[in-house]
């Protein structure tokens, strides 16, 4: 349908029957068609140049349906940021909304007459849980206001420029996305308009064509501007995104909104970041095409593009009634958008945004993300002390926010609430060497203590120990079951009383006349000894009282005459001393020897003792005996090492938690007062999940 622009008379074409508004290409007036005819909604501002891989009249695919991008609008957040929405006409006739969120994309569709009763505006806050009829409740990640600044192309709704509207962005943590539009913030609709869809990756949209070439040709180019105060050169690396920049010469904070520079005031102190602005940082594990920290191969491009340091802020955390400073470097990546490099107490972390709804409460303060439990570490107020470089939001010193950090080393999950915006981020601990290598800057070593998300000392110690103990005990059980002892000898000998008058060893071994035989030596019957099995001797001289006995057992191989000899010493004494009974020694000995050659053996037993009566000597010889003592020794060695290492790890963890605690924010006018605000944040952190 072709009409004439009511403002300038230029021809305006509505390509689709169900589009409402077309922006006049000539005068930028929003031309609306209705039952009453054609009218103008007023002039739209020129669109701010913003880099985007999307373009008008580009084609793409989503959920198996093709679409054509036929309109776009720029929306300003009440906090100053600008984002773009694209309007897609799908093959099946539906209109879809594709929104860009700093490197992320969402596709949504209007849901008329949603299944669930939607909450009114006064029932919502950042962190609220909303049921929109799906299987999973949604979490409000932002509850704010925005206004349309400008638009292009054809739009499926009645767009009015510079009129604020109230919205709530939500996600369910599994990739679904939804927005509630309440219209006028001063008189919000009782029943909001629901748009529901999903987060998508750009590549999944298969964007092609369009009026402008997407991708790299469209990336924003750095600019050099003159400071309005000192005329010094101010570099804007991200002119499309930046809203604040600090003059490196006069330290003026400058607004860069709407393409004009405006002085906002001189900052009290000049920041000195350890990593210079503009530094390229190579963190392949966090970039597309890199490898993740576990070494799994990444995806896409073979050479991950670097991050660029574009801003720096020194912030402080109110902990233990003091402000503790830490350093944050704002990084920009061409594909990913913004990330952070944070240094606290000399410990570094790489910080990535996380969909708040992807985290769940796990108890009062703990959180869960991707099945991993993060233990609450600290909740405190954060304050911006110094800024330097450029920022995509209206940063200023003195800004405060409230945060809850929960840890699962080497990761830390932080939920930060500023106004009605709830952001969640995941920090990954980096070693100093990793930071130096990635940045190429010899950042100083100022490490103190143990960082909350410092890697565990001896990670997986418990698992390794469990595996070792498990294997050892299993082996013990198997060997015990296999041992099956076999008795070779079980015989009793009577050894004559008295200490025999032993003749000296004969010069030559040979037969001795019976009358010369001492009577304290005996042979057993022959028995079979098997190869590869140990031999246990148990010798007992029962009835040994306040005396001693000495028994030698020789195992003689009948075929060769070779023997092995094992001796046993026993003594057993007891009595009363000062009315108290005492005893010492033993009348039984047990010895085990290694396997010997298989064959037929006899045992020669020779014994002497110190008793005045005859002594009874019991001899038991067994083979293939399970030696439990060695299992206990092995378990003991393992246990000792494990306990030592566990103590080392415990000490490390103790240091980690020394700085933990929950402290409320001090009143702005009395920072430093000894007031206990432990529960101030409970409504934000504990109750926001309605669990």
């Amino acid at each position: 349908m072709n009409v004439q622009c009511p403002n300038c008379g230029a021809p305006v074409e509505f390509r689709f029957d169900d589009s409402f508004v077309r922006i006049c290409g000539n005068c930028k007036n929003a031309v609306v068609r209705s039952d009453r005819g054609i009218e103008s909604l007023g002039k739209m501002a020129d669109l701010a140049p913003m880099a985007s891989p999307l373009a008008l009249f580009a084609e793409g695919k989503y959920a198996g349906r093709g679409f054509l991008l036929i309109g776009k609008a720029q929306i300003q957040h009440s906090a100053g940021g600008i984002w773009q929405e694209w309007y897609a006409k799908f093959d099946d006739g539906r209109w879809g909304w594709i929104a860009e969120h700093q490197g992320k994309f969402s596709v949504s569709f209007e849901v008329p007459n949603g299944a669930a009763a939607l909450p009114s505006a006064n029932q919502l806050a950042a962190g609220s849980r909303v049921d929109i009829g799906g299987s999973t409740p949604y979490t409000v990640t932002e509850f704010g206001t925005g206004k349309y600044l400008g638009a292009e192309g054809e739009l499926p709704f009645r767009l009015e420029a510079n009129v604020w509207f109230l919205f709530a962005d939500m996600s369910d943590g599994t990739g679904s996305f939804a927005t509630l539009d309440y219209g006028d913030p001063n008189a919000p609709q009782q029943t909001p308009t629901l748009f529901a869809g999903a987060w998508v990756e750009l590549s999944a949209l298969g964007i092609s064509g369009g009026e402008r070439q997407p991708a790299s040709a469209n990336l924003q180019q750095a600019k050099r501007l003159a400071c309005p105060e000192c005329n010094g050169a101010v570099d804007l690396r991200l002119p499309d995104s930046s809203m604040r920049v600090v003059c490196p010469y006069c330290n003026q904070l400058i607004s860069t909104e709407n393409g004009t520079l405006a002085l906002l005031g001189k900052l009290a102190s000049k920041a000195k970041p350890a990593i210079p602005l503009g530094t390229k940082c190579n963190f392949p594990q966090f970039a597309p095409g890199g490898t993740d920290p576990q070494g799994k191969p990444g995806t896409a491009a073979p050479a991950p593009s670097p991050f660029t340091v574009v801003g720096y802020q020194r912030r402080s955390a109110w902990v233990d009634y003091s402000w503790y400073p830490f350093h944050e470097y704002l990084l920009h990546h061409a594909d990913l958008g913004f990330r952070w490099l944070v240094c606290s107490d000399g410990h570094w972390s790489f910080v990535e945004p996380v969909d708040t709804a992807a985290t769940q409460a796990a108890g009062t303060r703990d959180r869960e993300y991707q099945g991993v439990k993060f233990k609450a570490y600290a909740s405190c107020t954060l304050r911006v002390d110094e800024v330097y470089g450029e920022f995509y939001w209206r940063v200023k010193t003195g800004d405060t926010s409230t945060t809850l950090d929960a840890i699962a080393p080497p990761a830390m999950l932080s939920r930060e609430l500023e106004g009605q915006e709830l952001n969640t981020s995941l920090s990954t601990y980096l070693s100093l060497a990793e930071v130096r290598k990635a940045t190429g800057v010899q950042v100083p070593d100022t490490q103190q203590g143990v960082a909350p998300n410092a890697p565990l000392k001896l990670p997986h110690l418990g698992k390794v120990a469990l595996a070792l103990f498990g294997v050892l005990l299993t082996l013990g059980i198997v060997f015990k079951a296999k041992a099956n002892p076999r008795q070779l000898v079980n015989q009793t000998f009577t050894v004559p009383a008295g200490k025999p008058n032993l003749p000296p060893p004969p010069a030559e071994v040979g037969p001795v006349a019976p009358e010369d035989q001492p009577g304290n030596a005996f042979f057993t019957e022959p028995f079979e000894v098997k190869a590869g099995q140990n031999i246990e001797f148990v010798v007992g001289t029962y009835g040994l009282t306040n005396s001693w006995a000495y028994v030698v057992v020789d195992l003689v191989d009948e075929s060769t005459g070779t023997f092995v000899s094992v001796d046993h010493e026993m003594e057993s004494y007891s009595g009363y001393e000062d009315g108290e009974y005492w005893s010492e020694g033993t009348n039984q000995r047990k010895r085990t020897i290694s396997p010997i050659k298989a064959g037929t053996y006899v045992a020669r037993v020779e014994a002497v003792h110190g008793m005045t009566d005859n002594a009874r000597v019991d001899l038991v010889i067994r083979q293939n005996v399970f030696q439990g003592a060695y299992l206990i020794m092995a378990l003991g060695f393992l246990l000792i090492i494990f306990v030592i290492l566990a103590l080392v790890r415990w000490r490390h963890d103790k240091k980690r938690w020394e700085n933990s605690g929950f402290y409320g924010p001090p009143a702005a006018s009395q920072a430093g007062d000894d007031e206990d605000d432990d529960d101030d944040d409970d409504g934000f952190f504990a109750g926001d999940d309605d669990e």
Binding site: G175, E201, D292, P293, Q294, D335, E352, V354, D355, A408, P409, Y429, P455, K457, L458, P459, H460, L461, V464, L468, L472, L475, G476, F479, K499, L502, P505, P506, G510, P511, V512, Q517, F522, F523, Q533, N534, Y550, V552, E558, G561, T562, F563, V564, S565, V566, D567, E571, Y573, T592, I593, S594, P595, R604, E606, N624, Y630, L631, F637, I641, V648
Partner: protein
């Protein structure tokens, strides 16, 4: 395809201490297994040879231990 929208939780990398513990522990387990399989014993037994002619004559020789060490009571 780009990275997933939500980054994965990094896992703790195994450290040298844990590896050494694993190696030492495996050596202990291995040593126990070796001892248990071979039924080796640290106790030493004296070895010698006894002529066949005296094997039916228990007192025909003094046992090795009686020759070399002997034991004649402790108290």
């Amino acid at each position: 395809m780009s990275k997933p929208l939500n980054p994965p939780v990094p896992k703790g990398r195994i450290t040298r201490g844990t590896i050494i513990f694993g190696i030492v522990g495996t050596m202990i387990v291995g040593a126990y297994a070796a001892v248990a399989i071979t039924q080796w014993e640290p106790a030493t037994a004296a070895h010698d040879e006894l002529p066949a002619s005296v094997r039916s004559s228990p007192g025909g020789y003094r046992s090795y231990h009686f020759w070399h060490v002997g034991y004649h009571g402790g108290k």
